[in-house]
């Protein structure tokens, strides 16, 4: 059994249109590295220098990883990771 990862629509171009992919268990950083090895370019869209990008939210099952151990949160086989780009903007600039 592996970790199930939900890929958001804007990043499905990098996963050949797949909405769900699998990754090896480990920390969130390990999961992102494994995703990048399988789907080159995906990692940099999610994180930069080991940190999740500001406008990307990652959920482990039902919990935002910022309220767990952030990038070091442990992800086990059978867990579900959801990658969700933020929705933001505004007229300020």
């Amino acid at each position: 059994m592996a970790v199930k990862v939900r890929i958001p629509t804007p990043l499905q171009k990098l996963t050949q249109g797949r909405e769900e992919v699998e990754a090896k268990a480990g920390s969130v950083v390990d999961v992102i590295s494994d995703l990048d090895a399988q789907f080159p370019g995906l990692g940099e869209r999610i994180s930069e220098n080991g940190k999740v990008r500001r406008f990307v939210n990652i959920y482990l099952n039902e919990e935002d990883i910022r309220f767990l151990q952030a990038e070091q949160t442990a992800v086990k086989d059978g867990d579900e990771v959801s990658i969700i780009p933020a929705i933001a903007g505004g007229s300020s600039r």
Binding site: P8, T9, P10, F55, N57, Y59, D64, S82, I84, P85, A86, I87, A88, G89, G90, S91, S92, R93
Partner: protein, 133 residues
């Protein structure tokens, strides 16, 4: 997407939400199948600002699941510009990660609300007609 089709009740609910959020920007998600909208999700703007919005991430997570459960698509994202024209700002363009969705902007700076919709892609911004049915 070539146009956005909005049932009148959803259209007016979107306007009411944006007006109710004044003086701050209001925001939300329109779900449907392709260009036809069938469900509105009114979201919390955690920036609480008249010139900026950020949808509450936990609400967004729940809404994404609900959209999937209902067999719908995230068809459009709306927000208001309380003090400026309904055109994508530089910030709107930089943060338009959902390039398959339409971005609807409700302009509230002059009397009646003005609603415009755009596709915002790396290659450029194009306006879409909005049909209220």
């Amino acid at each position: 997407m070539k146009r956005l089709i909005l049932p009148a009740d959803i259209f007016y609910e979107m306007l009411e939400h944006c007006i109710g959020c004044l003086p701050d920007e209001g925001c939300g998600i329109l779900a449907g199948n392709d260009s036809r909208i069938s469900k509105i999700y009114k979201m919390t703007n955690t920036d609480s600002s008249p010139v900026s919005y950020m949808m509450d991430p936990s609400e967004q997570f729940r809404v994404m699941k609900d959209i999937r459960k209902n067999g719908l698509q995230l068809a459009a994202i709306f927000h208001s510009h309380p003090v400026s024209e309904p055109r994508p700002s530089q910030k709107d363009r930089e943060l338009a990660f959902y390039d398959d969705a339409a971005y609807v902007i409700v302009g509230l700076s002059s009397g009646l609300p003005h609603v415009r919709a755009y596709m915002i892609k790396e290659s450029g911004v194009s306006e879409l007609p909005v049909e209220v049915i």
